[in-house]
């Protein structure tokens, strides 16, 4: 379940960023899913103090993750997301208001957000505060890809409160901290995923049943990050995020990035990210009997897991010095490989009694995902 989160931009508030237009393509494949995304974004300053931005994003999904595929047929869906943003600069304060609407056949999400960013202390410090309100409508498609039969199962309301500080420490070093508290209320389960409990009367040894989630959820995340300009023209970034929530999930994220430009034509970037979490308090891969506890989940997102990402990004400036109205033009390629390992989520799609694995003894699940992005950006 994704809450739409507001953007906390920790840039200088004295000048609004340049006009920019992007065309974006992305591809995700892994864990039984293929997602292709297309996006177009345009951002323009109407005056020196006022800017508008519009974004349109389409995701085409085919397949389903393993915990869905174990119970349902192959899914095809499309997500269309539109967003509009207004930015107003007054003295050293930037006010940002945005609205995002995301529609899938079985899921509708609308978010309104507001944030303000203030430069202070001789422009060495930027403080950002934000609030976002999201309304989600959750459905389930019981039909097929070509003949959908969607029934709406509930609503969820999400509120996100965020604050951030970006601080210039030295002429080579900048640091930042972001805090975000998010609360949800309503239907919070994933309707496609089910639990399983031991059932000796069944040949496979277990029976599937609906998940039962709490109606509320509150999470707190703190991220600290630092960026250092090396003795030669390159930068290194380190970040750490701590996460916990009222469902008992504690997550730790570590990331290291290295950015290396070559003249004014190329920017190379490499990154390594490691993430680890424990399971939610009401998660189990296999419950001992039906209704064994009040809340039950077997959503792979709530299992104990870790993942490691290795990524590279190359930006090439095809208009490094501009042309006519364009100040600059770039094309960027980004590729990531993510390895997911689950500590208590078993692969019941491919393994079971027929292969000699009794309930709870199936191999633990793991998979690799590849993520590719290509985008062209022009600044004017």
């Amino acid at each position: 379940m994704i809450a739409a989160l507001l953007l906390v931009r920790s840039t200088s508030a004295d000048v609004l960023p340049d006009n920019r237009a992007d065309v974006f393509w992305s591809k995700y494949s892994g864990g039984g899913m293929d997602i292709t995304g297309y996006s177009a974004t345009a951002r323009a300053k109407i005056t020196e103090n006022f800017a508008v931005e519009a974004n349109y994003f389409v995701d085409k999904v085919s397949g389903a993750s393993v915990d869905v595929l174990s119970q349902a047929s192959v899914i095809k869906d499309e997500r269309k997301q539109k967003s509009g943003t207004l930015e107003y600069l007054h003295d050293k304060t930037t006010y940002t208001a945005s609205y995002t609407s995301s529609v899938e056949r079985d899921y509708i999400s609308e978010t309104a957000s507001f944030s303000l960013s203030q430069d202070m202390f001789g422009d060495l410090t930027t403080v950002t505060l934000g609030f976002a309100n999201t309304h989600n409508t959750v459905g389930i498609n019981s039909g097929t890809a070509n003949k959908p039969d969607v029934s709406w199962v509930g609503h969820a309301l999400t509120r996100a409160y965020s604050g951030g500080v970006s601080q210039i420490i030295t002429k080579n070093f900048i640091a930042g901290v972001n805090l975000q508290v998010i609360t949800d209320a309503g239907y919070l389960a994933n309707p496609y995923r089910e639990i399983r409990y031991l059932d000796p009367t069944k040949t496979i040894g277990y029976t599937l049943a609906n998940q039962v989630y709490p109606d509320t959820h509150t999470s707190t995340a703190v991220q600290v990050q630092g960026k250092y300009y090396l003795p030669y023209r390159a930068a290194i970034t380190a970040l750490y995020r701590y996460y916990n929530d009222t469902w008992g999930v504690i997550g730790n994220t570590y990331e290291l990035d290295y950015t290396h430009p070559i003249r004014n034509r190329w920017i190379f970037e490499g990154r390594v990210r490691y993430y680890k979490q424990n399971a939610a308090s009401f998660y189990s891969d296999l419950f001992p009997f039906v209704d064994s506890q009040n809340f039950t989940a077997r959503d792979q997102n709530l299992a104990a897991l870790n993942n490691t990402t290795v990524g590279a990004k190359v930006t090439y400036a095809f208009l490094p010095d501009g042309w006519k109205v364009f100040k600059r033009g770039t094309v960027t390629f980004d590729a990531s490989r993510i390895r997911f390992n689950y500590q208590d989520f078993r692969n019941i799609k491919n393994f079971g009694v027929a292969q000699g694995f009794g309930p709870g003894s199936e191999p633990l699940y793991n998979f690799n995902a590849n993520v590719f992005q290509v985008f062209v950006s022009v600044y004017f």
Binding site: S10, E104, S109, T220, N307, A369
Partner: protein
């Protein structure tokens, strides 16, 4: 009691910071910020790309938030 002391300490520090805001002299002068202004020092050069990666992660991890990213939709499948 301890909570009250923390709140009072926070208020005192906040008041001092605000009171001194006018008098703080930037220890990194504007003409010394050329490296910080280099695009490679931007926190997020490509917000759409970052938001997309955040969306992928939040659809597959239990954690969320504080990344500065954005995303909507379910990621249910």
């Amino acid at each position: 009691m301890r909570c009250r002391q923390i709140v009072m300490l926070g208020a005192a520090v906040g008041t001092m910071l605000l009171a001194s805001a006018c008098s703080v002299q930037p220890w990194v002068k504007p003409y010394e910020r050329d490296r910080l202004a280099d695009p490679i020092m931007a926190w997020d050069r490509d917000a759409i790309s970052s938001a997309y990666l955040d969306h992928i992660r939040e659809s597959r991890e239990g954690s969320r938030g504080a990344t500065g990213g954005a995303g909507g939709g379910c990621g249910c499948n």
